[in-house]
Symmetry: C2
Subunit: 456 residues, 2 copies
C-alpha cells in the first residue's frame, strides 16, 4: 500500500516560506496593477482544444498538455489513426480539452466571448498558472505562474507610457534597483529591412540582430549573410552596431538610417513620444533604454516591444516583457482590436530578490507567540488569552498537547516563534502570564492587556 | 479562421466584479487562517496518477481528469488493452499524470515527502482549485476552489475546539449571522451500531441515519430494515429520533443509549470536552449544535465530524465541513499521524453572501477618478496628476484617446467611476483641475493637493 511519494518532473511543492515570498511579489504586482486601473479576470485552467491549438505554432501545439476524455474515450477514437497507431492524429478524437498554455490566448477568447459586457478600452490583469510540456531544466518548469496586464481596444501610445511607469512602480516597490526597461518598435525593425531592400527577410534579419548580445557584431553579420542578406545591405545598417549614449542620441543614430522608410519613421515617432513623456515624468528607480536589437516574439508584435533586464550585477535573463499587437482578438473573429500588454516573470523575480536579499523579514513572519500547554485547566486559561490576542490581530497559538516543557520550547525555537507564554497555577491565581522573549531570554509577568501590547 | 469562442462545460470565466467578490471571501478566510497560526502551502495542479488513483473509490477514480502523455504516447500503450480497445485498461499506459481531485491527498503526500523539513504538529492551509469530471449542474462545477485548513501530528482535542472557533471567526468577519456548526463523532455512531448489535452494518446504519433530514424518521427506519437491521435493534436507538433542546440535553439523551459501549462513551467525552471549552469561550456569531445523524465521509473520519449549515432563511446545503482522521498519511507509508481539518465551500458561501446582500460595496470599487483626454498637451498635464494620485494610493486613470467628450463621459458612467477630472488649457494656465462628482454633478476647480484630498 505504501508508495514512495513524489511529484511529476517540472512541478514544485511550495513550503510556507516559499508561498509567503511568492505572495509578497504577487501582492506587490497586484497592488500596482490595481492602482493603474487594471481589473482582474480569471479563466478556466483548461480550454477547449480548438481554442488553444494552432495559436502557438507547431512547437507550441506539441507543448500543450492535453486532457484525456472521460469514460470510454476510445469509443470515439478516429478509426484510421487508431489502426495506424498515429498518436498525433489520434489526439483530437480522444482529447477535447487542454491546459492553458499562456494567458494571452484565453484573454483574447474572453474578450470576444464577453464583448457585450465589456466597456472598452478594457484594462485587465490576470495572475494564474500556465502549463507547458517543455523539457524541465534549471529555472524552467512545467507549471508556472504568469502575471499579465493588458489593455485592449485603444491604440493610444499613453498605454505604452503607462506600462513603462507600471514596470517602474512595481520594481520600485520591490526595492529592486538597477532595472533597465528596454524598448524597441516593430516598425523600426521593419524599416531596417525595408531600407536594405530585404523586406521579405525581416524575420531572419531580426532573429540574427536579436543575438547581438550573445554572438557579437561579427556573429550577427555572419548569420545574416548565411540567410542570404548581401554584404552591401548589411553595410547600410552598419551604424546600428555602434549605437551608444543616451536614448535621444541613439534615436538620432537610427534616424539617418531610416530616412527613406515611412514605416521606420513612424516607429521612431512612437519611440520619441514615449521617451518624451517619460522625460517629463521621470521614473523612480528603473531606466528606460532604447535597444534596436530587441525583437522577442516578433511575429505578433506590431508596435512597441518591451523587455526588462535584471540589475547588471545579477546573472539573469529578462524578468519581464511585452508589447503591442494590433490584432489581438482577430483569431476569434473580433477585428480591429489593438492590444498592448506586459508580463512579469515571477520565478525569475523571486530568484533576483532572493539573491539580493530583498525579501523583507516580515514576509515570512508567522506565529508571534506560543502558549506552553501545562494541562487541561491551564490550557483553557491559555486559550482564553490566545483568543483575545487573535482578536487584537496577534497570531497566537497554544501548543496542542501538554508535552514535556523541553519539547514545547524546542518547537517554538525551530519555528522561530519570538515569544513564549508560560502560565501555570501561580500565574492563574494572579490572573497573569509569564512572557518569555525567545531571543533575549528575558521574562516578565504581565496582565493580558500588558501582554498584548508587549507582543504587538 | 474565426471560431465562435466558448469554454468547456462545468468551467467558468470570472469577471472583474466576480473576482473581487471571490477574493473578498478568500482574503477573509486566509486572514483568519493566519491568525490561528496556519501556514500556507501549495502543491502542483497535477500529481503522478499513482498518487491519486485508488484514494477516492472507483467512482472517484472515474472522476479524476487524466492528462495524456506528451509526444508519441501510443508507443508505450499497453498492447493487450489497445487490441481490445479497453479504455479503462489502456489509460494508465498512455497517461501518467492527473489533475488534483481534492487538497487532502496532495497534503498527505506533501507531509510524507517533506516530513524531515516539517515541525509537527503542522498547521497548514491551502487554497487552490481542484478538478472533477462530474456531470455539471447548478452549483456543481468541474473546476472549483477548495479552502482547507488541517493540523497533522497531534490528537489533542484543542484542535477541534480551534476549528469550531475558526469557523465562527470567518463567518463573523463575513457578517454572516445564523450559521450553525453541527458536530458529531464517529465513535458515537460506532457506539450506536455496537449497542444494537449491528457493528458490521455501521456504514448502512449511518448512511440511513444521515438521511433523517430528507426522508424523515419513518424513511430512515424503513431503509435500515431493508439493510437487514431488525426492528428490535432499531427500537433500542429510538431516543435518537427524538433528541431536542440544548447541546447538553442532547448529550444526556444519548448517554443512556450508549451506557454499555466504551467506544460510544469515549465519543461522548470528546463531544463534551469541545462543548465545555466553547461554553467557556462563547462563539461570536455561530451556534454549535450536536447532530448525531451527521456522518459525511464516514469512511475516513475516526473522531469529530463537523458540518456548517447556512442560515435557515437561505436554501443552501452545507457551506463547510471537516473532521478527524487518525491515519491521514498511512497511504503514503507514514503511520500514526492523526489529522483534523475543515474546509470552506467557496462557491456556496459566495451564493449565500450574494443572496443576503452581504458583500460590502467597497469590494467591487475600482477606479476612483478618470481624467478626460483633451489632446496630447492636456493629456501630459493630466498624466502628471494621475501619477501623483497613484502615489497617494488613489486609483486614477487617463482616458487613453482624445475621443469625443460624450464618449469619455459615457465610459466613466458605465464603469461607475465616481469622479471625473476636466483639465483643458484654462485649467493648465492656472495649474488647476476641474473635479466633477459624477453622482451629484457638482464641479469644483482645485489645486492638485486639494484634488487629492477631495477624492480620498
Amino acid at each position: 500500500m505504501a508508495q514512495k511519494p513524489s511529484i511529476p518532473k517540472g512541478t514544485r511543492d511550495f513550503s510556507p516560506a516559499e508561498v509567503a515570498k511568492r505572495n509578497y511579489i504577487f501582492d506587490t504586482i497586484k497592488s500596482e496593477f490595481k492602482k493603474f486601473g487594471f481589473q482582474p479576470i480569471e479563466t478556466p485552467s483548461f480550454e477547449n482544444s480548438d481554442t488553444l491549438m494552432g495559436k502557438y505554432g507547431d512547437e507550441g501545439d506539441r507543448l500543450i498538455f492535453k486532457i484525456l476524455n472521460s469514460g470510454d474515450f476510445l469509443r470515439k477514437a478516429d478509426a484510421k489513426a487508431y489502426e495506424e497507431k498515429d498518436s498525433l492524429k489520434l489526439t483530437s478524437s480522444i482529447s477535447e480539452k487542454a491546459l492553458r498554455y499562456d494567458l494571452t490566448v484565453p484573454f483574447a477568447r474572453y474578450v470576444v466571448q464577453h464583448q457585450n459586457e465589456i466597456d472598452f478600452p478594457f484594462k485587465r490583469y490576470q495572475i494564474q498558472p500556465v502549463w507547458r510540456a517543455d523539457r524541465p531544466q534549471k529555472g524552467r518548469f512545467r507549471e508556472f505562474y504568469q502575471c499579465d496586464a493588458d489593455v485592449v481596444g485603444s491604440d493610444s501610445l499613453w498605454q505604452e507610457v503607462e506600462f513603462v511607469q507600471l514596470y517602474d512602480a512595481v520594481f520600485n516597490t520591490l526595492k529592486l534597483e538597477g532595472v533597465t526597461i528596454k524598448i524597441n518598435n516593430r516598425k523600426v525593425l521593419s524599416g531596417f529591412a525595408e531600407v536594405i531592400g530585404e523586406k521579405d527577410k525581416l524575420i531572419d534579419f531580426t532573429v540574427a540582430l536579436d543575438k547581438l548580445d550573445k554572438i557579437g557584431e561579427d556573429g550577427v553579420k555572419k548569420e545574416m549573410q548565411e540567410k542570404g542578406i548581401s554584404e552591401s545591405a548589411i553595410e547600410k545598417i552598419q551604424p546600428i552596431f555602434g549605437l551608444s549614449g543616451s536614448f535621444s542620441e541613439k534615436i538620432e543614430g537610427i534616424k539617418s538610417i531610416l530616412e527613406t522608410s515611412e514605416t521606420g519613421k513612424a516607429g521612431i515617432e512612437e519611440l520619441e513620444f514615449i521617451q518624451n513623456a517619460i522625460a517629463e515624468m521621470p521614473l523612480k528607480t528603473a531606466k528606460l533604454d532604447l535597444d534596436v536589437t530587441l525583437a522577442r516574439g516578433l511575429n505578433y508584435y506590431t508596435g512597441a516591444i518591451l523587455e526588462v533586464s535584471a540589475p547588471e550585477n545579477v546573472k539573469m535573463g529578462s524578468i519581464g516583457g511585452g508589447g503591442r499587437y494590433d490584432d489581438l482578438t482577430g483569431i476569434f473573429g473580433l477585428k480591429d482590436m489593438s492590444g498592448v500588454g506586459i508580463s512579469f516573470g515571477l520565478d525569475r523575480i523571486y530568484l533576483v530578490l532572493e539573491e539580493l536579499g530583498l525579501f523583507p523579514d516580515t514576509v515570512t513572519e508567522n506565529t508571534k507567540v506560543l502558549f506552553i500547554n501545562f494541562g487541561e485547566k491551564e490550557a483553557l486559561y491559555a486559550m482564553k488569552a490566545v483568543r483575545q490576542l487573535r482578536d487584537s490581530e496577534v497570531v497566537a497559538e497554544l501548543y496542542p498537547d501538554s508535552a514535556k516543557m523541553n519539547k514545547q520550547m524546542k518547537y517554538a525555537n525551530r519555528r522561530e516563534i519570538p515569544f513564549v507564554v508560560l502560565a501555570g497555577e501561580a500565574e492563574m491565581d494572579e490572573a497573569k502570564y509569564t512572557l518569555k522573549n525567545m531571543k533575549s531570554g528575558e521574562q516578565q509577568k504581565l496582565s493580558l492587556e500588558e501582554l498584548t501590547s508587549a507582543i504587538r
